[in-house]
Amino acid sequence: MSAALQTIALEKRFGGLIATDKVSLTLEHGARHALIGPNGAGKTTFVNLLTGVLPANGGQILLDGNDITRKSQIQRARLGLGRTFQINQLFGAMTPVESIGLAVSERMGGGRDFWRRVGTRTDILDEITGLIERFRLTEVMDHPTRLLPYGKQRLLEIALALASNPRVLLLDEPAAGVPEAERGELLETLAQLPRDVSILLIEHDMDLVFAFAERITVLVNGALFADGTVSEIMSDPRVQAVYLGSDAHA
């Protein structure tokens, strides 16, 4: 059985700068896998390559064994590759119910429907309510998104990605900027994400990494530096020297 997501010698150059240097990474089915690395290690570039925001210069990306290297962002999303953004990318004028409803309806192929009124399909409505409650958005579900507290926006960011029912989910620094008071809620929600979704967590926050991940990959200067279970990585003296030592839990 092929891995949920796999890259083979993935490469990206910006002129002379090598941002992603032949990275081969395997994300197993149901994985809780963290991708870490100091600032400028090329984590964001790597995510952009995976999701198709940037085209790769070399190498391959396989989603469930299928080559998606040349596929567009939209095609990859339709094939089951979901993501959240480091900086919230939400629909400010829409409510959480509408945003999640849109994602659910798009997945069910209802997005081209220009003759039905929104809110008249009970199957979609049930799913929306389920996600709203699971992501603790019940209080604010009918408020405009741009007025939500930042922590709630962060939760909606993840709820939106999950509403598309992805097989692989890339979480790009989900806890970034969340105030301490709202962090607990976020971490609990992350821990409760369904097991059948394979997750790659891109993160700066080492507490979150250790709480969430079962496997860790370390990226340094665009290249794969180390890869292993949490305890292997924690005890690896090279990782401590290069990463943990120099960057004391930023």
């Binding site: 953004f85 429907d113 929104v118 939106l160």
Partner: protein, 344 residues
């Protein structure tokens, strides 16, 4: 699919959550009392202002044209400086149909709509190549200029600078003659506009319409959710072009004349001004803006016949600089301030 199974116990335990969600989703499509008042007042204008039917027809046509622009600017975030191209094409097609094919108005209207819609489909992809506002403004402006010059050159077909001669329109439905006072014309424009408004309202409150709002708000996110941004925008652009074409056809049929003026740049600029005047993104902006525009135009040109454009420009600047949200909140803010002074 695990979501569905999980959600059932949740909704059973908290039925109010499901109801709130449902109410929120139905919110945009719900008919508001103000809307009913608006359309009743519009219908009343037909009976109460019988000697103003010519002016009212002009207003409705401009309003419909602005409504078509609102569909792309307000609902899909696609700006245009050349929407007059579709208006002008519709106007010419309606004129040519009456000269060469038939004077039956509805046939002309439908053919004009189709022609404009097809032009929208054909030129829409140009807006997707480099999707920045500036390129879109320039591409739409360019298309409108090309069309104007083509109509000017093809004088054998369009009559060139002299205008198209010999446009005659048969009685509507074979019964209602287009009269000098514009009574038939106004009724015709009103009914066509109302029908297209209902159609547009249906479209923008559908799941498709919601996906357009999402694209307008954040195209990056929409793409990462798997929403095919390009085809969605193309669809609404063609629909908007079609409605603009109908507005152009109404102008030709009610005035029984077409000239190059229908393709002139000021059409595209005026309609944008009208829309901004009335407000973007709630479908009524175009219609209300058209009324405000024509009334202001009348009023300003009565005060200063030569400088009415100056005052119009001033009003436009004030509206844009103060911001519509602040203007809408103005009565409430004033009330609050008054109340506070009462207390003091």
């Amino acid at each position: 699919m695990s979501d569905t199974t999980l959600s059932h116990p949740a909704t059973a335990a908290r039925p109010d959550a499901g109801q709130r969600a449902s109410r929120d989703l139905l919110r945009r499509g719900r008919l508001k009392p103000a809307e009913i008042v608006f359309w009743l007042a519009t219908a009343a204008s037909f009976f109460l202002l019988p000697d103003r039917h010519l002016l009212l027809s002009e207003i409705v046509i401009l309003g419909l044209f602005a409504l078509s622009l609102d569909l792309i600017i307000g609902y899909a975030g696609v700006v245009s400086l050349g929407h007059g191209a579709f208006f002008g094409l519709g106007a010419y097609v309606a004129g040519l149909v009456s000269v060469h094919l038939t004077g039956e108005p509805l046939t002309g209207l439908i053919l004009a709509a189709l022609a404009a819609g097809i032009l929208g489909l054909a030129t829409g992809p140009l807006l997707l190549l480099r999707a920045s506002d500036l390129t879109r403004l320039m591409v739409t402006l360019g298309v409108a200029m090309l069309l104007l010059e083509a109509a000017n050159r093809a004088a054998w077909l369009t009559g060139g600078a002299d205008g198209l001669q010999g446009v005659t329109i048969n009685p509507l439905l074979g019964r209602f003659e287009f009269d000098l006072f514009g009574t038939t014309a106004y009724a015709y424009c009103l009914i066509v506009t109302f029908a297209l408004f209902l159609l547009a309202r249906r479209v923008v409150t559908s799941p498709y319409g919601l996906s357009l709002l999402a694209i307008r708000d954040n195209a990056l996110r929409a793409r990462s959710m798997g929403i095919p941004v390009g085809p969605r925008i193309l669809g609404i652009y063609a629909f908007s072009a079609l409605i603009a074409g109908v507005a152009g056809a109404l102008l030709t049929q009610t005035t029984m004349f077409v000239s190059l003026d229908v393709l002139a740049f000021h059409r595209s600029a005026d309609v944008l001004l009208v829309l901004v005047l009335g407000g973007v993104g709630y479908l009524y902006g175009g219609l209300i803006g058209a009324i405000a525009f024509k009334l202001l135009q009348d009023w300003f040109s009565a005060i200063t016949p030569q400088y009415w454009m100056f005052w119009m420009g001033l009003v436009l600047m004030v509206i844009v600089l103060i911001g519509r949200d602040n203007l809408n909140a103005l009565p409430r803010t004033l009330m609050r301030r008054l109340r506070r002074e009462d207390r003091a």
